[in-house]
């Protein structure tokens, strides 16, 4: 259940990468503000280089912000007790290559000070959860991409974290692997985990997330639930068959109709009252109505729109250079 309690709070976060030998820096994250509530699945989406991974690395204390900061469970991100309660799935599953799944999970569990007996139980539970029992003895370097990603997820769950941070969890996976990972995320969500997920696979985000923040060139250009971001449907789409050319022209001339193309009539949504009249006109024109839909914009549409609105059509994908 989603509550109003903020688990993660990012306030004015800015990160500028500077080199010792060049006077200019690259602004990877620019005054980012966002909050993740307990129990929700929040996704930061954006193209490569938009600052998603940089944001996650700052949250985890792997790199340091230039300005602003973040708190987790109301505490500083540098507080060691915070890390007892979070889990992190890095992009591309960076784990020790020479060990097998069982050994890896035992090691990561040991970092939380669990007893040998508890570690043994945990390893069993996690291997079962991620479907790796049969491959528990396979060295990590010999694992397929999907197996590696599942083991990486298992290591992020060794402490049964309240907040799970995932960086591109389905990156590089085939459709079957992606489906499997999405199922796992949904299962974790069902168990009440708060999840912060970075991705540029919009379909998976649409499937699992409660709220989405769209990042572009280090800035949060849009944020909200999918419904809020998508807004109301803008058109009614009527798919027809057998509509004659003259009737199609007459329909296209109506103010309520946006266009008629290959038997598909697109109506303005705000003229919904005229739907019956349009349907009658189609019938009179020899057409047969196959389907009437009110499609909402997809996350893909929202994403493209937000980037155009937020940054302007001339902006490139490279981060901003600052003096």
């Amino acid at each position: 259940m989603i509550t109003d309690e903020s688990v993660l709070s990012i306030d004015g976060l800015t990160k500028v990468y500077r080199s010792l030998f060049t006077p200019v820096g690259v602004k990877a994250v620019d005054n980012l503000n966002l909050s993740v509530r307990r129990g929700e699945t929040y996704s930061i989406v954006g193209p490569n280089g938009s600052g998603k991974t940089t944001t996650l690395k700052i949250i985890l204390g792997l790199i340091f912000p230039t300005a602003g900061g973040a708190t987790i469970f109301g505490k500083s991100i540098n507080d060691l007790s915070v890390r007892e309660r979070i889990g992190f799935l890095p992009e591309d599953a960076y784990l020790y290559e020479v060990f097998n799944g069982e050994e890896l999970l035992d090691f990561y569990a040991s970092l939380f000070g669990f007893s040998k007996q508890r570690r043994r139980e945990l390893v069993e539970e996690l291997l079962t959860l991620v479907g790796m029992q049969a491959n528990r003895k396979v060295p990590f370097r010999e694992c397929s991409k999907g197996m590696r990603q599942r083991l990486a997820l298992a290591q992020a769950l060794v402490n049964d974290p309240e907040l799970l941070i995932m960086d591109e969890p389905t990156s590089g996976l085939d459709p079957a692997g992606r489906h499997q990972m999405t199922r796992l995320v949904l299962e974790l969500k069902r168990r009440g985990k708060t999840i912060l997920l970075c991705s540029h696979f919009l379909a998976e985000v649409e499937e699992v997330c409660d709220r989405v923040g769209i990042m572009y060139r280090g800035r949060l250009v849009a944020e909200g639930t999918l419904k809020e971001l998508a807004g109301e449907p803008v058109e009614i789409v009527i798919t027809t068959a057998g509509l004659d050319g003259g009737a199609a022209k007459q329909l296209a001339a109506r103010e309520a109709v946006l266009g008629v193309d290959d038997g598909v009539v697109r109506m303005r949504h705000e003229y919904g009252d005229e739907l019956w009249s349009v349907l009658e006109a189609i019938h009179r024109g020899g057409g047969r109505v196959i389907e009437v839909t009110r499609p909402r914009p997809t996350l893909q549409d929202v994403f493209v729109h937000a980037i155009r609105e937020g940054v302007g059509p001339t902006a490139g994908e490279t981060p901003e250079v600052v003096e």
């Binding site: 985890l60 204390g61 792997l62 790199i63 340091f64 060691l80 007790s81 890390r83 007892e84 979070i86 889990g87 992190f88 890095p90 591309d92 960076y94 784990l95 020790y96 290559e97 020479v98 060990f99 050994e103 090691f107 990561y108 040991s110 970092l111 939380f112 000070g113 990486a152 290591q155 992020a156 402490n159 941070i165």
Partner: protein, 297 residues
């Protein structure tokens, strides 16, 4: 007052201060020690699976065993040659292994990004650095112990073979060999600490190059001291003195010549080198932790 006495007084003061303030640092240490040990254990376990280390150990063992083939020498010369050559092999391979183990410890974790999953867990950065160092120490201790055991085995075997010969004066000098090998390990431990420090601020390649330079300079410290004393240009004198002060005095750990030639030596000078080495290593590991703490990974 000698530098050694001053050092011992300083050490005594540090121990008293640490004892009096133990309530402040003991809880943190209670968390740190298990974490350090876990990182050390995984470092050792990872190294055990790497074939390169095993291959190097086999190579050194073969070199030591092959030394028994010099049977045309007199027994006395044989024992001298075996001890000198064996200890040199232990020292050189110990240092080479230290350079290649320590130089990759942290940079490899950064390059393979395995450090992400560790630092995202309740592990402090200094615990990670110390864990890696302790892991390297254990690996190098095991390798040194194996090499020393093989050398002792070779010496005892050769002793057995030549005792029946007339006027045999073959002396395996086992206590001396063990002492010299232990001192060689101490120099490796000091160098490893310094390499870990360098690796926290530079790339693997730069670390390896720096380590070789430090090894060379550290082994020539008495010469550098003499050069500094005799230098006429003030800038050169200052530079040499700085080098002499900063670079660990690895030559102080070298007892190969004394042991191989059955010369008298003082165990106290060895103990003094060890105490100075420990102090030096503590300082470089504190610096390594500070640098790694500020490093963006």
């Amino acid at each position: 007052m000698t530098p050694q006495l001053l050092f011992l007084i300083g050490l005594f003061i540090v121990i008293v201060v640490l004892t009096l303030t133990r309530k402040a640092w003991a809880p943190a240490l209670g968390h740190a020690l298990p974490s350090v040990w876990r990182i050390a254990k995984i470092t050792v376990a990872e190294a055990r699976r790497r074939r390169v280390l095993q291959a190097v150990v086999v190579l050194v063992v073969l070199i030591l065993v092959s030394m028994t083939f010099f049977s045309y020498l007199s027994p006395r010369e044989q024992s001298r040659m075996l001890i000198s050559g064996g200890l040199s092999a232990i020292t050189v391979f110990g240092i080479l292994l230290a350079i290649f183990v320590a130089a990759f410890l942290i940079p490899q974790e950064l390059e393979s990004r395995t450090v992400y999953a560790i630092l995202a867990k309740p592990v402090r950065r200094f615990e990670f650095v110390l864990g890696k160092y302790v892991g390297a120490l254990i690996i190098l201790a095991v390798i040194t112990a194996v090499m020393t055991a093989v050398l002792i085995g070779v010496l005892l075997l050769q002793n057995q073979l030549v005792t029946d010969l007339p006027d045999s004066v073959f002396d395996p000098n086992i206590p001396g060999v063990v002492f010299a090998a232990a001192m060689s390990y101490c120099s490796v431990a000091v160098l490893t600490g310094l390499i870990v420090l360098i690796s926290t601020i530079s790339s693997t390649t730069m670390t390896v190059i720096s380590a070789f330079i430090i090894w060379a300079v550290g082994s020539l410290q008495p010469t550098i001291h003499d050069l500094a004393e005799n230098a006429e240009i003030p800038a050169t004198k200052l530079l040499l003195r700085v080098i002499y002060t900063i670079v660990p005095k690895l030559a102080n750990f070298d007892f190969r010549n004394e042991v191989a030639n059955y010369l008298q030596f003082s165990y106290m000078s060895g103990a003094s080198a060890i105490v100075q080495g420990i102090a030096y290593t503590i300082v470089v590991l504190i610096l390594a932790s500070i640098f790694f703490n500020d490093r963006q990974v």
